[in-house]
Amino acid sequence: MLKFHSYSTRMVNTRRGVMECLESAVGEDTSQINLLIWHASLGHDFQDLVDAARELVPHARIVATSCCGVVGREGVSESMKDIALMAVEGKEFAVAHCDGLNGKNAFAKCEQMARSLQEQDPNVNMVYFLGSGIDTANDQCIQAFESVLGKEVTIFGATSSDNMKGVVNYQAVDDEVMEHGAYAVGFSDPTLKVETQATHGFVAVGEPLVVTKSNGHLIQELDGQPAWEAFTRRLGLDASAECGDTIPIGALAEKLSEDLAKEYGNDHILRVVTGRVGNEMQYATEVAEGTELWLTKRDEPLIFSEMDRIVEEIRGRMDDAAPVAVFHADCLARGRFLFDRIIKEELVGKMQFPFYENGQCPPWLGMYGFGEFARLGGKNEYHNYTTALYVLYR
């Protein structure tokens, strides 16, 4: 039976940060810990991080990813020196990883990982997936996992990020540090269940941009014009703007079916542009020609009301069961570049407080990344610009 422990901090010295997280989350005796899941912002050297973790808990598997900030029981931190840990006791899990993941090989790489998980443990019933947030077709990743493990297996997690530059992100598994990698942790504890849900609180505005030419996850033309020019012109930015300039304001909305819109609390699902290749845009999923993409505006009251709604719905589906751990992915565009600290902490309070048990927040590992995985309409789905909660309970 899996047990979870978490801690997060802001610490300049990577080694001391690792040490403090372990001591605070687990204590001195780490002999029962079998898996360490680390989130850290870009100011930390990931090789130093895994080396320190390996030295302190030599027998444990280690996975790590870069992000734009962390959320833990201790609150929110968005600096270059954040570090957060979820330490896992028990053996009902499997770990797979790959390097060289990109938009073109996403399916193949993730299928290999899925098979690896299945071979290690055929009873995997949920997957915590963390992949590179740059140049990836995340819908292909989902399809690959489902093709091996089945659609009923919940895929939750996020995509790695940097500090919203869209330049580089890191993943690490055991002693290997990667820049275009991914890892998947398959949990197989039969006593565990997971509830996932995502919300964004943005509204589509104006007329859509129509994808007139695309290639997989690359958008080449919008409204018959070079994609990047058309996109930045509509955003009111110069064509010389970089990806990082577009992320906070450039959420692109795809229309949902009525059923899904009702469950989602919004008519649109959002997508992020994760990179620019000349005049082409790297999109987060594969995109068909003819797809309509709306620009969006943030609706702060909606963000708050939707947060209340999804938390209430998750708790409702849990039937009073106790949460044992919460994984949480937030879009980096919902961090310091959207809310000031007070509003953000209020928002995090709203998502954490309903899961408190006996006045204690459950172990919590959250991050600000490029994208989020959560189920929608009974299926695994990839989201952007959302807060996505993954509540493990028994």
Binding site: V12, D45, M80, K165, V205, I249, D340, R341
Partner: protein, 572 residues
């Protein structure tokens, strides 16, 4: 907007409006970004406050530098933080700390040292590279150079070439914060130095107190009386031994001068009192033996040592007097002197008696010897002639004994008198006089150096005569016997070696040959006084005598005598 627009015109207007809406988002984001910068600035000040809270607890320079480097990284969202300090007087006091450089630590540290050495001025910052090969893409450099202080502190926050693309450009809003931060780092460093100075002073004070406590314990508990006075010699403190010795209580003596209650008229000589008074007036150390009076009127002797105590400005603040009760010592000394005087008198009387007896005995003996010479032995029977011969021999031996006793007595009784004389001539005369003792013994004199010497001529003559006579007396019978005298005289000393090839002395006798009445052989008659008297004489005139001998081979006596000035020295 006019109401009669065509469809196309309406569409254009709509697109413009839409464009304005989305542009509004961009403008709104710019405002949010500015707000974020302000928020980060606020966070920066909060973190600087946290730095102050942590730094105030740090008391060591290396730990402070580590904290500064870490805070630089955290506060300014930089990749590396570097802090170093150098003490220009204490050259070995150099510390630095580099945070965040990871695998580039060595390379980065070297580059930072170069940067710190090259860049001058306070609060300098740059965007971009200034030095080819520098691994920093951008940095802020703060350099604190305090005039009048030997301390230089440099802090650098920067981003490496490798990571530059993931870090933002340095916002100028942070410069003020950086300037404040460097100021406060410098203040914390100064605080640590001030603390070190205070601690050093405290340590000195603590040691002084410890020393004072020890001295106080010593002063309180030693057997000698201790008096501490002020600069005017008025008592401010006395120890228990003083109270015990004098019988006075502390409250009876505080504020008084010791001489006012310990001294009595005529007890001590004027010279002693004058010496004491002069030393006190001139603030000098002095040590005198005094007679003092106890509270009960009893007189006691003390040895008083007084030392002046000066402050850091060399001003006299106290006198410390240590008085040792030497009454018992003085009484013993007095008794001993009296006994010595008695002994000297007895010795002198004894010497006089021995001299008188010897002298008086010798006169009839010489008469007997003279009369023996007048007796006509031709008409006497053989046995009577033999008897007369035996009488003559006995009177010679008796005369020799009396002569040696007289020599001993003279040596003991008479003062040494150094005067200039010709030792070579003296020596030649002695050899000539003694030549008749044994005609078969060949005597030689080998002389080098000074002939005129300054010594006690009479004693030197007796000494040499004794030794040479012994050499001749114990020479080998039956021919081939010789006695050789070698003398070397310098202005400082003379060495005389008397060698013979006589019967020699057995080794086990050698240690005792200079003892009184000790005789190493019975082959010839003797008194056992000759060598004893010789040694006594040698020592009295400041010389040494030694003997080496091998049985049946011969004997060598070495005498070393110093040369003296022309003066009479009385050695009792």
């Amino acid at each position: 907007m006019p109401h009669n627009l065509s469809h196309e015109e309406l569409l254009q207007e709509y697109l413009k409006l839409q464009s304005r809406v989305t542009r509004f988002s961009a403008k709104e984001q710019e405002l949010i970004n500015v707000r974020d910068l302000l928020d980060q600035e606020l966070v920066g000040y909060k973190r600087m406050n946290e730095f102050h809270t942590a730094a105030i607890e740090v008391h060591e320079v290396p730990q402070l530098l580590e904290l500064i480097a870490e805070t630089l990284v955290d506060l300014f969202e930089m990749e590396i933080g570097f802090a170093c300090f150098r003490h220009w007087v204490e050259q070995d006091r150099y510390h630095c700390h580099l945070e965040g450089a990871g695998k580039f630590k060595g390379e980065m540290q070297e580059a930072l040292h170069r940067l710190c050495a090259d860049q001058e001025g306070v609060y300098d910052w740059k965007d971009g590279l200034t030095d080819e090969g520098m691994p920093l893409a951008r940095y802020m450099l703060g350099k604190k150079h305090r005039s009048g202080s030997a301390v230089e502190m440099v802090v650098v926050a920067g981003v490496s070439q490798e990571k530059a693309r993931t870090y933002g450009l340095i916002d100028r809003r942070k410069y003020t914060l950086f300037q404040l931060f460097v100021e406060s780092c410098s203040a914390h460093l100064e605080r640590i130095f001030a603390r070190e100075r205070i601690q050093a002073q405290l340590e000195t004070i603590r040691k002084s107190e410890l020393e004072l406590r020890r001295l106080s314990l010593i002063a309180t508990n030693i057997n000698s009386g201790v008096i501490i006075t002020d600069a005017k010699a008025r008592i401010v403190w006395v120890n228990d031994a003083f109270k015990k010795t004098t019988g006075y209580l502390e409250e009876e003596v505080i504020g008084k001068k010791p001489k006012d209650f310990l001294q009595a008229e005529g007890l001590n000589g004027d010279e002693t009192l004058h010496r004491l008074s002069r030393a006190l007036q001139q603030h000098e150390n002095v040590s005198v033996d005094l007679k003092n009076v106890r509270k009960n009127g009893e007189v006691f002797y003390l040895r008083l040592t007084i030392s002046p105590v000066r402050d850091q400005e060399n001003q006299l603040v106290n006198f410390i007097a240590i008085q040792q009760d030497i009454t018992d010592e003085k009484v013993s000394e007095s008794k001993m002197l009296k006994q010595n005087e008695e002994l000297i008198k007895i010795n002198q009387e004894l010497d006089q008696f021995v001299y008188s007896i010897s002298h008086d005995l010798r006169a009839p003996l010489l008469s007997i010897q003279g009369l023996l010479g007048l007796i006509n032995t031709q008409g006497l029977r053989d046995e009577n002639r033999e008897y007369l011969g035996l009488i003559g021999e006995s009177t010679k031996r008796l005369d020799q004994t009396i002569l040696e006793i007289l020599n001993y007595s003279r040596n003991a009784r008479l003062d040494v008198q150094f005067e200039s004389f010709n030792l070579k001539t003296t020596m030649a005369n002695i050899l000539s006089d003694l030549g008749s003792m044994r005609l078969d013994v060949k005597t030689t004199l080998d002389w080098s150096g000074e002939e005129e010497v300054v010594q006690d001529e009479i004693r030197v003559g007796v000494l040499l005569k004794n030794i040479i006579a012994n050499a001749i007396k114990y020479s080998k019978p039956g021919g081939g016997a010789w006695v050789e005298v070698r003398a070397i005289a310098t202005p400082q000393a003379m060495q005389i070696i008397i060698t013979d090839n006589g019967e020699g002395i057995d080794t086990h006798h050698l240690r005792q040959v200079f003892d009184m009445f000790y005789r190493a052989t019975t082959s010839s008659p003797g008194t056992g006084l000759g060598l004893y008297v010789s040694k006594e004489i040698t020592e009295k005139i400041g010389g040494t005598i030694s003997i080496e001998s091998t049985l049946n081979i011969g004997t060598e006596v070495t005498i070393i005598l110093p040369q003296h000035e022309h003066e009479q020295i009385s050695i009792d």
